[in-house]
């Protein structure tokens, strides 16, 4: 044990991370803060009240009083210029222009504007005497799992596995290359694969803390469920951490400077931050991009995490996703071995 190179190298790696307060912040504290902030920002708070305006003019007062009675709308009476201004800057969702026929003035690409238009129209038609053709009722869904925070937490977990894997491996390797430590190690009888393996072992040692803290906080603060098996979740997280640790190894295989490796990392991670469905669903991207989006390792990891955590999926349902990001990991690992610069 005492003179086992693998043990000593791994210990060194773990110590290096533990003794870097910034690393602990980015690995553990930051994702929790982010999830808390986003969880609060997007908390379920009942139906929102939509701001609408009535443009001043003949007949405006009647429209104003009709709309004022609707608790889902917040009505203001504005003159032409002020109404235009408020609509342009998004302070109101729709402007109702009185006249022979009512005109709804709004931006159809804004979902809340479309909703406000329908609500206002409905209200005004009712006030004008329209009778509903059929009676309707409502039933409210309150079960956990459909909220934004439930969508968000598995995505944040995936993004964190990517970021921590890449930074913790990439930075320390390039740092060691820059300090000529790699060259010094090569001058010893150390086996090179042991050095690379120790990087992974050191990285995986933090997985328990990382995943545990984020899943625990999400559970305690926001009641985010964990429907699938914990064992499967750990398996997905471990394979995901391996995949991105390999990617970190590949990215760090050649650069000699921290600046160089930072640029490469951003190049690799940036598309996945945007495309891989961390903050919003990948279905928003056009059909033509889908093969690319779905082939990204983070997309596959996020999907697998969501299915296990929220939908309670078993191994059979996520094995396809695991094959995608696991395959990326294996490919990146061998590419890194072939390209690695020890001097």
């Amino acid at each position: 044990m005492r003179y086992s190179p693998l043990v000593q190298l791994s210990l060194g790696k773990v110590r290096g991370i533990l003794r870097e307060p910034e690393a602990i912040f980015w690995v553990v504290v930051f994702p929790v803060l982010l999830s808390v902030a986003l969880g609060i920002a997007f908390r379920a708070s009942g139906p929102a009240v939509l701001p609408v305006a009535v443009q001043d003019g003949p007949g405006a007062a009647e429209l104003f009083s009709a709309l004022e009675g609707d608790e889902q709308l917040d009505v203001a009476l504005l003159d032409d210029a002020a109404a235009h201004d408020a609509l342009r800057t998004g302070r109101v969702a729709v402007v109702v222009v009185p006249g022979e026929s009512w005109t709804f003035w709004y931006d159809p690409t804004r979902p809340e504007s479309r909703e406000a238009r329908l609500l206002a129209d409905n209200r005004l038609q009712g006030a004008a005497g329209r009778v509903d053709a059929h009676a309707t009722g409502v039933r409210e869904m309150t079960e956990k799992g459909s909220r934004y925070i439930d969508f968000l937490i598995p995505g944040l977990l995936g993004m964190n596995l990517m970021g921590t894997g890449m930074w913790s491996i990439g930075f320390s390797i390039v740092n060691s290359r820059q300090r000529r430590i790699l060259k010094r190690l090569v001058a010893t009888p150390m086996r090179r694969w042991q050095y690379l393996l120790s990087q992974f072992i050191g990285r995986l040692a933090f997985l328990v803390i990382e995943v545990g803290v984020l899943v625990g906080v999400a559970r305690l603060l926001f009641d985010v469920p964990l429907r699938g098996s914990i064992v499967l979740l750990c398996g997905v997280c471990t394979l995901g951490a391996f995949a991105f640790a390999s990617t970190g190894l590949l990215v760090a295989a050649r650069p000699r400077t921290i600046e160089g490796v930072s640029g490469l990392m951003n190049l690799v991670m940036m598309p996945m931050w945007i495309l891989s469905g961390t903050f919003f669903s990948t279905e928003r991207f056009p059909e033509i991009m889908q093969p690319f989006v779905q082939a990204l390792p983070l997309t596959a990891l996020n999907d697998a995490l969501r299915q296990v955590m929220i939908e309670g999926a078993g191994v059979g349902q996520v094995v396809g996703e695991m094959a995608i990001f696991g395959g990326w990991g294996v490919a990146a690992f061998f590419a890194a071995l072939a390209l690695f610069r020890w001097r």
């Binding site: 290096g16 060259k183 150390m190």
Partner: protein, 307 residues
């Protein structure tokens, strides 16, 4: 005949168009401390890194302890202690952790605490590398090279950038290792270091060995023990004076001359008399005992260090 610790023949290494090592032959005997002395860029580091198996020569043969690189590299590395010129060890590991890590790579060696004692760092064992002074970091680097109790110790410019006290501490460590009849190969551009530590010195310039021998032999080769340097207001003519050898301008300035002489009490009055008769004004006159630096200047017309 015993196997040489290090032997190389016709070693050549290019970096693009630049020739770093230009046909170098060398033999280092077991148990001797051998120095490669030369200015920056002479090819010393390249040569040592070829010996250490870190660089591959373009041409030539290298044998270390009778073995060649690329046959059984791990077994060979297990017997060598290496200190590179620019390694900055991990800042956030402690001294003992660092030395234990390096010890773990070797099949045998010394107890880490023993090694730390031998380099005078036992009190710093739990300090982070970051908190060490330059001299202490250099001694730790030496300790990492000594962790395997090596048969050959390679030191590349072990005291460059150190203060005089730290330099002497490093010298004491090397001398203690040498006293155990182990082989040392070191590079340096400090002639005092080569004179103090080395049994034999090879003076290297532009990738070639231009002189080889013990420090005493090399200085003897100058033919005289003393060096006189005169600085005048214009170029004096000292040719033909008795008792003077090897008159050379310093840094290409004909008004500054460097003269080697057997006996100062004869040479200095001769020089002064010549200056007076030529009506040349003397600005400065200095004398010192000949050193390896003077050997290098005599051979190349240049100084070891550009100062």
């Amino acid at each position: 005949m015993t196997t040489p610790a290090i032997r190389c023949k016709d070693l050549v290494k290019h970096y693009g168009d630049v020739v770093a090592v230009d046909g170098l032959d060398l033999e280092v005997r077991p148990g001797e401390c051998f120095g490669l002395l030369g200015p920056n860029g002479a090819g010393k580091t390249t040569t040592v890194e070829i010996f250490e198996g870190l660089l591959r020569p373009d041409r030539g043969e290298v044998e270390i302890l009778g073995q060649r690189w690329e046959r059984d590299d791990r077994a060979l590395r297990d017997r060598l202690g290496v200190q590179l010129q620019e390694t900055r060890l991990e800042e956030k590991l402690s001294v003992l952790e660092t030395i234990t890590l390096f010890r773990s790579f070797y099949s045998s060696g010394s107890e880490p605490t023993e090694v730390l004692r031998s380099v005078g760092l036992e009190e710093k064992r739990n300090a982070w590398v970051r908190t060490l002074s330059g001299g202490q970091q250099q001694r730790l680097s030496l300790a990492c090279a000594l962790a395997c109790d090596p048969e050959i110790l390679f030191l590349d410019e072990p005291t460059t950038g150190l203060d005089p006290q730290s330099r002497r501490q490093v010298w004491d460590i090397v001398l203690a290792f040498r006293a155990r009849k182990r082989t040392v190969l070191l590079t340096t551009h400090y002639m005092e270091e080569a004179q103090r530590l080395c049994d034999r010195v090879a003076i290297v310039d532009r990738g070639k060995i231009i002189a080889l021998g013990s420090p005493a032999e090399l200085i003897e080769g100058l033919g005289a023990d003393n060096v006189v340097e005169v600085t005048c207001d214009r170029a004096p003519n000292l040719e033909g004076l008795t008792g003077l050898q090897d008159i050379q301008p310093v840094d290409g300035d004909a008004a500054r001359l460097r003269v080697t002489a057997g006996h100062l009490h004869r040479a200095v009055p001769e020089i002064l008399a010549a200056l007076r008769s030529q009506d040349v004004e003397l600005r400065n006159l200095a004398t010192h005992q000949a050193t390896l630096e003077d050997v290098f200047v005599a051979l190349t017309g240049r100084h070891l260090r550009d100062e």
